[in-house]
């Protein structure tokens, strides 16, 4: 069989074998074995720089492979320990940084024609690897974009913060090829003076995000990243590389995203950029969550923690909408009796303690799904659903009893009471409903305080016009 024809056929075979492979590592291994088979060599290796990427024929970790590449002009012979005198052939895959293919054959040198074949095989391998790398980069880019779209959708939909953080950690672990599975988010504990951290464990599980507290080592990787507000890298004494990227909430550095790399891996430039991107998404999610939290807090009364007027109003509207025509909503408007006197005689601090105590007593009386709110000053409201008149009356009696019990406050004992107005399904409109309950409360006050009055639906209309506006 003519040498030239056989060589051409063998290059086609190598190309077929290598291009059938889905990833670089498999392609390289297949190529090395096929190249050795083709020239009946015992030893074959792919060397890139100083590293033997893959090889067959010499004991694992052998340093002899690089000697094979020293033969000048790509051809020669070398005395290999354990094998004897070997013919050697090598050739570059393409550019210098793509590496060289080396082959060694016991007892027989490579002819010029065979060396040409080695050159051809090296070129085929180089071209195929380049193609596989491009495909791989494309695939990874698409993968990254899909993850980012998912995270951005969660943020814009105001998904719970825990869900956004989990999605980001999972994405980071998935997209960064070098991550050994250790992607963590560390956030400073706002309540801790010694800067203990609350951390997230492995992101690979499907379960919800979990937190555990740990102490941050001062001067350590994470502490430094937070202090200087810049990404930091370090290698521990076991040779493992870690990177920490700071994350922010409203511009303040409150923690770091950390990645621990698998043994010997490094983070490429695009990987670094991706990591910064993930940290940025976490910062956006944290800031967003904080803003939402603040907004929510503003709608609560700072002193008692109960929903303020606006929030109570909103929730009452919600109750009514849910109730529909069932007619099972009862509203109690509560005004404290003689509260001003307590403020005047014992001071505002005492008044505050009283309000906090009464707020808690109200919470304790109502059922889980019912509403309690502080409408202002010494006015409270309770919405019960489902409730009928009898139940509303029972609750009113209990509230009056409870709020009649004295409260120990700074400076003495406060002894106050409550007047309650009850409205029952008098309107499907929250404003009107509140107005009816309010008017009933006034009646209770005029009738002597420490009692409740149930609004008369028939008289509701005329009264509404004279009552002060209740809408916020």
């Amino acid at each position: 069989m003519a040498d030239g024809a056989l060589a051409a056929q063998q290059l086609v075979e190598l190309l077929a074998v290598v291009s059938n492979c889905d990833d670089e590592d498999t392609a390289i291994h297949a190529a090395i074995e096929r190249a050795a088979e083709t020239v009946e060599a015992e030893v074959c290796a792919l060397i890139v720089g100083d590293a033997v990427v893959d090889a067959v024929g010499l004991p694992a970790g052998s340093t002899e492979y690089s000697r094979l590449a020293e033969a000048p002009q790509g051809r020669g012979s070398v005395d290999l320990p354990g094998a004897g005198l070997c013919g050697v052939g090598w050739a570059q895959l393409g550019r210098a940084d793509e590496g060289i293919l080396v082959l060694a054959r016991v007892g027989s040198e490579f002819s010029v024609a065979e060396h040409n074949l080695v050159r051809g095989m090296a070129r085929v391998l180089g071209l195929t690897l380049r193609m596989l790398r491009t495909l791989e980069a494309e695939r990874r880019r698409e993968h990254l974009m899909r993850h980012l779209y998912g995270i951005q959708r969660l943020i814009s939909r105001r998904a719970p913060l825990a869900e956004v953080l989990r999605a980001t950690l999972v994405a980071a672990g998935d997209v960064l090829p070098a991550a050994s599975g250790n992607v963590e988010l560390l956030l400073l504990d706002p309540e801790s003076a010694d800067r203990a951290l609350v951390t997230r464990s492995r992101q690979t599980d499907d379960g919800p995000i979990t937190w555990r507290r740990q102490t941050m080592r001062s001067g350590g990787l994470v502490a430094t990243a937070i202090d200087v507000d810049r990404p930091q890298e370090q290698t521990d004494d076991r040779g493992r590389r870690s990177i920490a990227v700071p994350v922010h909430e409203r511009g303040r550095t409150i923690g770091a995203l950390t990645v621990e790399l698998s043994d010997g891996r490094r983070l490429g430039d695009s990987d670094r950029d991706n990591l910064l991107l993930f940290a940025e998404h976490i910062s956006i999610a944290l800031t967003d969550a904080r803003t939402a939290q603040d907004m929510e807090a503003a709608r609560h009364d700072a002193l008692t923690g109960l929903p303020g007027r606006a929030l109570f109003h909103e929730r009452l509207r919600h109750f009514l909408a849910q109730d529909g025509d069932a007619g099972e909503v009862a509203l109690l408007y509560i005004d404290l009796d003689r509260f001003k006197a307590v403020n005047d005689t014992l001071g505002h601090a005492a008044g505050d303690v009283l309000l906090v105590e009464f707020a808690q007593r109200l919470r304790d009386i109502v059922r889980r799904g019912d509403l309690v709110g502080r409408l202002g000053g010494d006015e409270f409201a309770v919405a019960l659903c489902p409730a009928n008149e009898r139940y509303a009356r029972e609750v009113a009696v209990r509230i009056i009893d409870e709020l009649s019990r004295p409260v120990v406050v700074p400076g003495g004992v406060a002894d106050v009471g409550a007047s309650i107005g009850i409205a029952l399904n008098s309107s499907a409109v929250a404003d009107e409903f509140l107005a009816h309950a309010d008017m009933a409360m006034y009646e209770a006050k005029r009738a002597g305080r420490g009692r409740f009055v149930v609004a008369d639906p028939d008289r509701a209309d005329t009264r509404v016009l004279n009552a002060p506006s209740l809408t916020p």
Partner: protein
């Protein structure tokens, strides 16, 4: 007399090989008898057992242990046993290696399917315990019904490297194609690999030869996949192949006839230093028109239809023996292992194998030898390939 004995002790007794056989149908008795007969020297180091599939491997192993307690045992089932008394079915042939000039370390790896490369590597690791000898060989016996045997050898090569040759065979089961067995001590495996690394003071040689020659021009593999060739020269592979041989009409469609026909007409693959032979008969594909030939037949490979007959096969067996013996450059080997192919046996027929046996005996002369008809031969001396079909492989211990 005394002088002779002393010489015998210091010279040949450093390394010896002996063969014992038994035709007893009782597996325990057969093992005990054959092993007893093989123990013909001091300090036995290894027993290699070839047994017909009819035997109960557990009882067989127990019988061998009774005769040779504490001696490492390696063995497998066959499609016929080879020894100086002539080829036989259903017998037990035990080869013993012994003497201070040998070091042996053994290994057994179960469940190789799906992890062939790893299994080969695992089996080869026993080589580390035989580093005290200048000459080594790894003897491998595999389950002949496992796929991708070449990958097992690659795995072993990855551990052994260039300096340790490979020799062995794939266990048979009397052509039943239902299950073979491998032995390691008293452990019995199926779907396993058993190995012995044999180190020796004297050189070890391997001869490899086959009696097949190409018929007509080569064909190019134009489509392949999943271990089979789908197209040759852009047409259905099976038809292209049969056309090349001018096969009779009934062979094209009848599975039985086809299987019989291709047994003596294997596939050849062009390699650097010759044509590699591949068995086509174990999985014929009448419907799909594909042909088998080993997993690595890729696009662009040059394939031949090969032919041969009793004369060419027997001549090749003789050449393989001669080659192994001659490589030891004048010194007489202490023994030979002769592994032939079950498919060749089908070609030779019952009378042909007797004639083959006689030719091997002729080449061996007074050198003890034993072997079996395998479902694939293992021999790696050059390059990284080591699995053969329809080939004779011979190992000679110096």
């Amino acid at each position: 007399m005394i002088v002779e004995t002393e010489q015998a002790t210091t010279g040949a007794a450093r390394r010896w090989m002996a063969v014992g056989t038994s035709v007893s149908v009782d597996s325990y008795e057969a093992g005990r008898e054959a092993a007893g007969r093989a123990l013909d020297g001091p300090d036995p180091k290894l027993l290699v057992v070839f047994a017909g599939i009819e035997h109960d491997p557990h009882r067989l192993a127990a019988g061998i242990r009774a005769a040779a307690p504490g001696v490492p045992v390696l063995g497998c089932s066959t499609h016929g046993e080879i020894n100086a008394a002539g080829p036989r079915d259903g017998s037990v042939v035990v080869t013993a290696l012994g003497g201070s000039g040998f070091t042996v370390s053994t290994a057994a790896v179960p469940e190789i399917s799906g992890r062939q490369r790893e299994a080969g590597a695992e089996a080869a690791r026993c080589v580390a315990e035989v580093s005290d000898r200048p000459h080594r060989v790894l003897l491998l016996l595999t389950d002949g019904l496992a796929r991708d045997q070449e990958t097992v050898i690659r795995g072993a090569y990855g551990v052994l490297g260039t300096s340790v040759p490979l020799f062995g065979g794939a266990a048979g089961d009397g052509w039943r194609m239902s299950g073979t067995f491998q032995l390691h001590g008293t452990d019995v495996f199926t779907n396993g690999v058993v190995a012995a690394c044999i180190g020796s003071d004297a050189p070890i040689a391997i001869g490899i030869d086959h009696g097949w020659r190409p018929s007509g021009e080569p064909m190019v593999v134009t489509q392949s996949g999943d271990g089979r060739v789908h197209e040759l020269d852009d047409g259905p592979a099976l038809d292209a192949y049969l056309d090349r041989l001018d096969a009779p009409a009934e062979v094209y469609r009848d599975e039985q006839a086809l299987r019989h026909y291709v047994l003596s007409r294997p596939l050849g693959v062009q390699r650097r230093s010759g044509i590699q032979v591949r068995n086509m008969s174990t999985a014929v594909d009448v419907d799909g028109r594909t042909i088998g030939g080993g997993g690595d037949l890729s696009l662009g490979a040059l394939a031949f239809a090969m032919e041969g007959d009793e004369e060419s096969v027997v001549a090749a067996s003789a050449r393989a023996c001669r080659s192994a013996i001659e490589q030891l450059a004048g010194s007489t080997p202490v023994g030979l292992l002769t592994f032939s192919c079950a498919a060749c046996r089908a070609v030779l027929g019952d009378e042909g194998v007797v004639r083959e046996g006689a030719r091997i005996a002729e080449e061996a002369g007074s050198i003890p030898y034993a072997g079996f008809y395998t479902y694939g031969e293992i021999a790696r001396t050059r390059g990284i390939n080591g699995f053969h079909n329809q080939t004779m492989v011979v190992l000679a211990f110096g």
